[in-house]
Symmetry: C2
Subunit: 145 residues, 2 copies
């Protein structure tokens, strides 16, 4: 059996580099007391992560309790991985010009749309996607290997 594995803390720069470079995060929120986690596509501008989603359980949950986290990792193997956790606040983007800019930015990155978060519908009856940011307040990161 091996000696202690080396799990170490990522520096702030390393954590932000992973957050900026990734496109899929697991978004965590609290829904009626229970943790709720879904994969989302996002883009991080250094202060906030921009996300869009169909209305649904997580949107209702984040409107009720805006404390959320984004977990991003890079797993190359059991003993070679990084994981970053960004804590922040949910802010819905509703002003039409700002919402359009955000949607255009997301669509330019994810033209094919994305895990759970996507869904651009052209049907008249389809629900409108919700666009929001997670304003990041604190980031922690760990790595092994």
């Amino acid at each position: 059996m091996k000696a202690t594995e080396m799990i170490t803390t990522l520096s702030r720069d390393e954590s932000y580099t992973l957050l900026r470079g990734s496109r899929v995060a697991r978004l965590g929120c609290v829904a009626e007391g229970y943790p709720y986690v879904v994969p989302v596509n996002y883009v991080f501008d250094g202060e906030s992560a921009l996300v869009h989603s169909l209305p649904g359980r997580k949107i209702e949950a984040m409107r009720a309790d805006p404390r959320v986290c984004l977990q991003v990792d890079e797993i190359e193997g059991h003993t070679k991985w990084k994981s970053v956790l960004a804590y922040g606040t949910y802010e819905e983007i509703t002003a039409s010009a700002e919402r359009e800019r955000a949607m255009n930015c997301l669509l330019s990155l994810f033209p094919q749309l994305t895990p759970v978060e996507s869904l651009i519908a052209t049907d008249a009856n389809a629900p409108s996607p919700v666009v929001f940011r997670v304003r990041v307040e604190r980031v922690t990161g760990v790595t092994e290997g």
Copy 2:
């Protein structure tokens, strides 16, 4: 722009198949009101997921509030993915025979140890890993593509 993407619900069987077949989940819990998400290795026996971890923030959080979730996905592309969310209860395994069986099971699957969850240390001073199960009470799943 495409018409509505087809996101559909996974059947119970499909959801359980993904849960049984995967080895990495994102474990969500609530730590002092905030969602907390980390990657974990696990094995699911049809009723519970078995996990081990070093003592730390998430163990403290789950001892204080045992409501947890495990999110498991299979992402092949922006429009081809599955995601399952299993809600359950944290139960620490402390009885020595049961704990040893659980550790042996996990070590046989993850001889190299794993993301965040691993860390078997032979040093006398190293903290003992915590072994726990998440007793799954409800599973939901969605898929696209």
